[in-house]
């Protein structure tokens, strides 16, 4: 009900000032995006948001506006690294690290799997029955305690 009711009416069709200015970093020193700069009379973000509004009303896309500002101020204006050259490392490293970690886990699993099981522990011993064996064990402990 909630899932159905909440967002339907709010989906936007064309870029808003906020969506575009999220892609740009404010240069006033606040360290936030042009959309989020919290200085009410910021000399950078306030006029820029006005310019962006005008560009959107002239039909320019988000990408065109970002390209314009990158040309004007350099790469530091963009709030995310580009996807070229050295910057590609920014985007790929986290996933590469996770893949590496996943590979390491898979390798460890293979080694552990091939290792001998401790005595008295057969795979069938852990097979759960009607109730979760863990739950059953805990309940039995509780009953013992209460006796």
């Amino acid at each position: 009900m909630l899932l159905a009711a909440a967002p339907r009416a709010f989906a936007a069709a064309r870029p808003t000032v906020s969506q575009v200015s999220q892609g740009l970093t404010c240069q006033c020193g606040c360290g936030l995006t042009v959309a989020n700069c919290n200085h009410p009379s910021c000399s950078f973000s306030v006029p820029l948001r006005g310019e962006i509004e005008a560009m959107i009303s002239h039909g320019e896309t988000r990408e065109q506006i970002l390209a314009y500002y990158r040309h004007k101020f350099g790469e530091k204006i963009l709030s995310a690294p580009t996807t070229e050259g050295f910057n590609l490392l920014a985007w790929t490293m986290p996933f590469a690290a996770i893949l590496l970690g996943g590979g390491f886990i898979a390798l460890a699993f293979t080694r552990w799997r091939n290792g001998p099981l401790p005595a008295g522990k057969s795979p069938a011993a852990s097979e759960p029955s009607a109730f979760d064996s863990d739950l059953r064990r805990r309940l039995e402990n509780e009953l013992k305690e209460n006796r």
Binding site: L3, A4, A5, A6, P7, R8, A9, F10, A11, V17, S18, Q22, T25, G31, L32, T33, N36, C37, N38, P40, E75, K76, I77, L78, S79, A80, P81, F86, A90, W91, M93, P94, F95, A97, I98, G101, G102, I105, A108, F109, R111, W112, R113, G115, L117, P118, K121, P123, S126, E127, P128, F131, S133, L135, R136, R138, L139, E142, L143, E145
Partner: protein, 672 residues
């Protein structure tokens, strides 16, 4: 009082140094009197730091501007509550506050372990004293809270207006508590490595501390987000600012740790990994402090920047190097008979959950430091902001939510396909149905639809778990459903408290999706009596009230909020001007419901207030982010609730550890 504060900090430093010597000497030579003396020294250190804190509070509350700190971060007109919170509003005070928390936690740990863990506790206390020495050294010689100023100013500079907010009054203490309390499990981990007592007794002994740390890290992050939401006036709560990231990373790693220790407790595996995780979590708290105070990366938290970065970096490097060396040194003793049967097992799910959590922490770390790397390598300054973090962490968050649903429902060791089907049928149906409902409701963003679907799936798995537990109790102890539910949670608080935390995470996740994908904003300039609309709401500008006192000027707009032609309420966004710091600020008005928040900022005033500009955000579901935080906190309280069986398990673990030790000594033919 300033002299007393200075003296106390110096004595505290001497006591911390003595405590290291007494604890280590006592432990090595088996001298209980030295160990006792080392413990007493830590309690005395805590008393000294407490007196220093009282001395600084006294200066702040009395507006004693002979103290440079008071003159810089307070004023006579500052409301008393913020004079009190100014203790952590500036560099020196916040370090003193940090040290105070550390000394309190160290004292509690010393008290808890006065009879427990006789072999490891002295070393753990020595490690805590070592950390305290760093902070006390900083307070005594580098950034002194009791420095005097000359000439004495008539009035103070006041506290940064952004910090004059109730959320900011509780956000730093919560976060600091989370940061500092991670020292205790870290110190016991280090002590386990030093003494080669590498079973799980150090984990069991510090489990509550780890959860306590996680609890306050959760609260700290939530309070910080709420502060940003209410104070910064941009309609959002998280900007992936480096300092926010610095608080988020230890939370992620601590979450991974709390899950992976279950594997060690259960299967005696992953000893190295758990020790590495707690070392990483503690190091990340120091990294966070380094980031906050160094100014290496520009941040919205610039008010905490100083020249302390190199000291924190040196300390961080020293900690990481020593701890890694210890881990490598002990690695031959950390091998355990590993047992693994299937990818379809809870241990496998936990391991992948760890991979994703640490992966997200790495992505956040990488994005935070990448601007520095880019400048070093290319000489080009770049920014890594929200679009990067959202795009990289978005898919990882989905994977994490999925694993959150899978983990609890599959058994340890292995699960058969048949059982898997039985356990997951209902949750999968619920998840798919929710996804379909979302799509049919007009949600076309794949991420949002998938996220809602996964959240419903995980909620389904949690419901199945509760249902199964209640049904087992009804079957075996013949309890009525409500009582069975209460007893289920009370008697298995660790497990079911964990599920309550998971429900909180789901609620927060739904809130994040709703607020990230479906927020709409309108900016309008209206004259008194005019209205404008946003979504199904309309807002009518009724007029402006102006107030002034010695501290600030305030212009408050009155807006009638209408829904379906009916007036719901009057809301009051305001513009503030802090006189002492000559800084403007905004006070937003928020009308919150479970469906959406209406968030109104008074952006500008013209024509003596006859015309005003409003920036309004309609943010669906954001309510659930805060509700989720509350649920996570409640779940953690349930998890931490004293449990007789848990205490017995700790006693058994410690007893086993001692028995093994005596057996080893007997076999080798003697004592020390």
């Amino acid at each position: 009082m300033p002299d007393l504060g200075k003296l106390c900090l110096l004595v505290a430093l001497i006591l911390a140094v003595y405590s290291i010597f007494a604890n280590v000497y006592g432990a090595r030579r088996g001298r209980g009197d030295f160990i006792l003396s080392g413990r007493h020294a830590l309690w005395a250190m805590c008393a000294m730091v407490t007196i220093a804190v009282i001395a600084l509070w006294n200066g702040l509350l009395r507006s004693d501007f002979t103290l440079e700190y008071v003159a810089s971060y307070s004023s006579t007109t500052l409301p008393t509550v913020y004079k009190f919170t100014s203790l952590w509003g500036g560099q020196q005070g916040s370090l003193l506050f940090w040290t105070w928390l550390l000394s309190i936690f160290t004292s509690i740990a010393a008290f808890q372990n006065r009879r427990r863990n006789p072999d490891t506790a002295p070393y753990a206390l020595a490690v805590m004293a070592g950390v305290a020495i760093f902070f006390l050294f900083m307070l005594n010689f580098i950034t002194r809270p009791f420095d005097l100023i000359s000439p004495v100013p008539i009035e103070g500079s006041d506290l940064n207006p952004l910090l004059q907010n109730y959320w900011m009054a509780i956000h730093p203490p919560s976060l600091y508590t989370g940061y500092v309390s991670s020292t205790i499990p870290f110190a016991f981990g280090a002590a386990a490595l030093i003494t080669a007592k590498l079973d799980d007794s150090w984990i069991r002994s510090t489990r509550r501390w780890a959860i306590f740390s996680w609890f306050f890290l959760t609260l700290g992050n939530m309070f910080g987000a709420r502060w940003a939401y209410e104070v910064l006036g941009w309609g959002g709560y998280w900007a992936w600012d480096p300092v926010e990231n610095a608080a988020f990373m230890p939370w992620l790693v601590m979450t991974a740790y709390l899950h992976s220790v279950m594997i060690q407790e259960r299967k005696d595996m992953l000893k190295v990994w758990n020790l590495a995780l707690i070392g990483l979590a503690f190091s990340l708290t120091l990294f966070g402090t380094f980031i906050t105070r160094s100014g290496v990366i520009s941040s919205v938290h610039s008010f905490t920047q100083s020249g302390l970065g190199p000291y924190f970096l040196a300390f961080l490097i020293a900690i990481v190097t020593c701890y890694t060396a210890l881990l490598i040194w002990r690695s031959p003793d950390l091998r355990s008979p590993a047992e693994f049967e299937s990818y379809l097992s809870r241990e496998a799910a936990f391991l992948f959950n760890n991979l994703v959590l640490v992966g997200i922490a790495f992505a956040v770390f990488w994005g935070t430091i990448f601007p520095v790397l880019s400048e070093w390598v290319r000489g080009v300054k770049i920014t890594v902001g929200p679009p990067f973090f959202n795009r990289v962490n978005g898919p990882l968050a989905l994977a994490l939510i999925f694993l959150m649903g899978v983990g609890p429902l599959i058994a340890w060791r292995r699960t058969t396909a048949d059982r898997l089907l039985r356990s997951f049928a209902a949750p999968v149906i619920l998840g798919v149905s929710a996804g379909l409902v979302a799509i049919l409701s007009g949600i076309h963003e794949w991420y949002a639809a998938t996220g809602f679907s996964l959240a419903a799936f995980v909620l389904g798995t949690i419901i199945v778990e509760f249902r199964r537990g209640v049904s087992a109790r009804r079957h075996m102890v013949s309890e009525p459903p409500a009582r069975a539910l209460v007893n289920l949670v009370a008697k298995n608080n660790r497990r079911y408290g964990g599920y309550i935390i998971h429900i909180g995470v789901l609620a927060a996740f739904v809130g994040i999706i709703g607020s990230s994908f479906f927020k709409v904003e309108v900016k309008k300039s209206v004259a008194i009596g005019e209205s404008f609309t946003i979504g199904s709401f309309s807002l009518k500008y009724l007029g402006l009230d102006q107030h002034e006192n010695a501290h600030l000027e305030q212009a408050t707009a009155r807006l009638a909020m209408m829904h379906d032609g009916r007036e719901v309420t009057v809301i009051n966004p305001a513009k503030l001007f802090y006189k002492r710091q000559q800084q403007p600020a905004t006070a937003v008005a928020i009308r919150s419901t479970p469906f959406a928040d209406l968030y109104v900022v008074l952006a500008g005033l013209d024509d003596n207030g006859n015309r005003a500009t409003f920036e309004v955000f309609l943010t669906p579901l954001v309510f659930w982010l805060w509700a989720g935080g509350l649920l996570m906190a409640m779940g953690t309280v349930v998890v931490m609730w004293p449990n007789v069986r848990e205490r017995a398990a700790i006693a058994v673990a410690i007893g086993r550890s001692r028995a093994e030790e005596y057996a080893g000594e007997a076999a080798s033919g003697g004592g020390r």
